[in-house]
Amino acid sequence: MRLTLNVWRQKGKDDAGGFVKYDVPDVSEHMSFLEMLDVLNQRLILKGEAPVAFDHDCREGICGMCGFMINGQAHGPLRGTTVCQLHMRHYKDGDELWLEPWRAAAFPVVRDLAVDRSAFDKIVAAGGYVSVSTGSAPDGNAIPVPKEIADRAMDAAACIGCGACVASCPNASASLFTGAKIAHLGFLPQGQPERERRALAMVAQMDLEQFGGCTLFGECQDACPKGISIDVIARMNRDYWLSALFSAPPSAGAAASG
């Protein structure tokens, strides 16, 4: 099949950027979207032009590296699918597509369709961890976790950090991502010691990174390739305000010695 692509080309963070039209005449329905771009890039390289930059790694839908907007939709039109797992059989001959990078103040464009998502790393660094005792490995199932709780933690842990939630959110909010990380750890017994501090620190970092607030539109959960629900956002809000208002101040003894 033959496609017309309008690809956002931008040399760097401070370049203005704009769409460039490409004709791709030889697309096979068996290709993935990224393989189709590989074909385009091969041709551009042979012509001596710069290939279209885009992020990718596993191409199995599990690493979270890939992602851009296709006709205004994060990862394209298919539900629960990263763009590396989107196959060209979902398109038909003559289709015209617009490819844009994730757009958010917190995600500056590196080049073309690739953006810098370090802001996510900083949110995780602020509180997305649990303390683990050193020494010999603990017994596998020493801490009982009810099945329902384990499942819900796992649902949240499915987040691959691709950024589709931010990209699709009209507020460019990182609430689904941050909520997923907080829920993933906060559901489990191992996540309890840091639970209060985690919500406060991760929400504060999210604000510092210049993400917008959440108005619960629900666009993110429809765009999420892992189908994470906005329930995690409500949970984050609850953890946040309970901790902000009621978390225990350090004991007098700790304050004196510290």
């Binding site: 769409f19 907007m69 296709i70 006709n71 205004g72 939709q73 039109p77 617009w98 844009e100 757009r103 958010a104 103040a105 917190a106 699709s168 009209p170 507020n171 460019a172 909010s173 929400v203 504060a204 999210m206 604000d207 210049q210 993400f211 917008g212 607030g213 959440c214 108005t215 619960l216 539109f217 629900g218 666009e219 959960q221 429809d222 765009a223 906005i230 329930d231 956002i233 409500a234 949970r235 984050m236 809000n237 609850r238 953890d239 946040y240 305000w241 309970l242 902000a244 208002l245 101040p249 350090p250 304050a255 510290g258």
Partner: protein, 227 residues
């Protein structure tokens, strides 16, 4: 010696600084306004019980002056917090996406949610007009008499643009609450697989009832059912 534990006032300011704190402020001020509009609508509907009933109800509300002023101050605070926080959240969203998408491809139809700031701004204009019109009588599209709401409503809702603006505003109030009366629960984290879908229905039902309940009064006057 400086302590690391924040004092109570510090906690509140720190709380409000982060966006989740702002959302809680939105929800708390929103729930006050939500409760108020329900009571307000119940009051208005007494117009169908006749002139004496409605005017007596208004006079009874005004009889207890301290209570009246407490209610007014609480409402003013709620509107002030809600307005200021709503505007600042909307501003933060704009700043979070300085370069807009050239092609839009919304997946999740959510007219009410996406127009919160717009419906809110019209409501703000409406609230100002409404107070100047039927509380203070400063704006008089028709003759105004203090504490005679039956006569004031009947006289001014005969003016078509006035009745039209009221109907439009209360429909937008319905739209605002169709999303808001559900999302306020999520903002404070009241979420449960069993109750969250029920809350959606709760919001839809109340939004609809409020839009209808408020609209019937100007419509009844316009059509001559109430005169």
């Amino acid at each position: 010696m400086s302590s690391t534990a924040p004092a109570a006032t510090q906690r509140i300011t720190l709380f409000y600084q982060d966006y989740v704190g702002k959302k809680v402020a939105m929800a708390l001020s929103g729930v006050v306004l939500f409760g108020y509009v329900i009571i307000h609508m119940a009051g208005n509907l007494q117009i169908f019980a006749g002139r004496e009933q409605l005017n007596a109800y208004a006079q009874a509300l005004h009889a207890n002056v301290p209570l009246l002023w407490i209610a007014r101050i609480v409402l003013l605070l709620a509107v002030g917090i809600h307005f200021y926080t709503g505007i600042s959240l909307a501003g933060a969203s704009r700043a979070a996406r300085p370069v807009r998408y050239q092609v839009k491809g919304q997946r999740h139809p959510n007219l009410a949610g996406r127009t919160m700031a717009l419906s809110g701004l019209v409501l703000a204009a409406f609230i100002v007009f409404h107070i100047l019109h039927l509380t203070t009588g400063t704006v008089q599209p028709a003759p105004f008499a203090d504490l005679r709401p039956y006569d004031n409503m009947v006289n001014s809702f005969r003016v078509i643009p006035v009745a039209g603006f009221y109907v439009l505003s209360v429909c937008l109030l319905g739209l605002h609450l169709y999303h808001g009366a559900w999302s306020m629960f999520q903002s404070v984290g009241f979420n449960h697989p069993r109750y969250t879908p029920a809350l959606r229905r709760f919001a839809a039902v109340f939004a609809f009832l409020l839009a209808i309940g408020f609209s019937v009064v100007p419509i009844a006057v316009l059509t001559g059912m109430v005169r």
